[in-house]
Symmetry: D2
Subunit: 143 residues, 4 copies
Amino acid sequence: MTAPKPLALSKEELQAFLDEVFPQVREDFVVEALEPMAIEMRLPVREKHLRPGGTVSGPAMFALCDVAVYAVLLAMIGKKALAVTTNCSLDFMRKPQAGKDLIAKCELLKLGRVLAIGDVRLYSQGDERPVARATMTYSIPPK
Amino acid sequence: MTAPKPLALSKEELQAFLDEVFPQVREDFVVEALEPMAIEMRLPVREKHLRPGGTVSGPAMFALCDVAVYAVLLAMIGKKALAVTTNCSLDFMRKPQAGKDLIAKCELLKLGRVLAIGDVRLYSQGDERPVARATMTYSIPPK
Amino acid sequence: MTAPKPLALSKEELQAFLDEVFPQVREDFVVEALEPMAIEMRLPVREKHLRPGGTVSGPAMFALCDVAVYAVLLAMIGKKALAVTTNCSLDFMRKPQAGKDLIAKCELLKLGRVLAIGDVRLYSQGDERPVARATMTYSIPPK
Amino acid sequence: MTAPKPLALSKEELQAFLDEVFPQVREDFVVEALEPMAIEMRLPVREKHLRPGGTVSGPAMFALCDVAVYAVLLAMIGKKALAVTTNCSLDFMRKPQAGKDLIAKCELLKLGRVLAIGDVRLYSQGDERPVARATMTYSIPPK
């Protein structure tokens, strides 16, 4: 077995870079934990993320999954803001709990030369049953 | 061949209902055309939908696809605000053009008793090459 | 508007190449019609494709969708047997009719330098309601 | 936290039922391990599953994922041969190794009244990097 690739960015460098390239969503996505090929991120749920009934909106869940894969990819390959999502599949399985932050646990399953694939599970903080799962593919631009 | 099911809501009734149940996104989604099993919707792209470089954000594209399928489903089955998205697949194929509205052309491929499936293609207004495609599955609650 | 790219292979050249590279499935996949960026293929349904109840198996439907996208891609870029499927999403919407061939109508939505994306709808011959839909992404190897 | 639901079928009862309802694929799918909400299955790879170059075919990988989710679903809800696949997403990430069996590790993420969702990762026996991942949704018929 080969050793996993090391991180190119620390947790602090990654958070700072995300804040810089996504100023408009700076307060939405917090890096909770980072290790090679895996990340945990948190969406502090606020009024703007909600739908009638108090549930978190689909676009907010999509955004959290998308950012989690992007973030762990950047942490592995370094600051390349141009990686783009090419595909995603999402399953919404349970209604997120009102008043709870959303937690994304993301694993990078493939880190190739041109494609990276990440798997994400979303949880309402404090509940171990996933509310959604997603797989996102990113295309990595040539140098 | 069987005749297609008729619309339960007119274009005006549908737009009014969407405005009522999604007040926070009222100005984002415009019903352009409606017929049985098909709808065309428009996202008037504004600053808040953009990413650096002037491209429309992934969450905004997800939201437009999701609303288009929801809207044509409601137009067919009547006002049932509780239908929920259970699955989606999305392919992002080209960068949307800066300064152009996004157009969703949506077809309902299946309208079953418990599941409905819609296919969507997104276009930058005036360009015939799709920027993205999506398939969304909705679960219809029992009466 | 730009003119579409032309075909690199004729319908006969394509069928001959498929028969050569997939000898084990030679009798399974027939090119019915071919034009730039679009193809129609047929699966002559036989005993081995069926599941109990007379319905066509999921793997047989997957295979037909996969081959249809591969075939139209080859028809556009020429004989490159090494293009590989990287992603697929499939929705099974209706039970295929027993005793009817399956027809795949496939459109290539994107033909990029490294990725190609095709959309497929499957029909039981003679029925206009799709039994399934699929989107397949192919990775095109560098020259 | 609630205790997980118990198994309705033992590993032996499940294998016997699969052999009975899928006689044509009896030798293809072996239940390796079973616990509540999770299963491991093996595809003993043979000539008929291969593509040129010695790699396992896409339809064979699809079939293994599909059967794994079906099997763990049956193991949880009992013998209901009529559950049907409604959706799948698949990512092919690495070329399976020639001459190695394929192992499916499957987790049931949701077991609802009408829908069940399972996540699968495929491995070439002895290699810890997944060759593919899949999510399959099954519709459970009413009693």
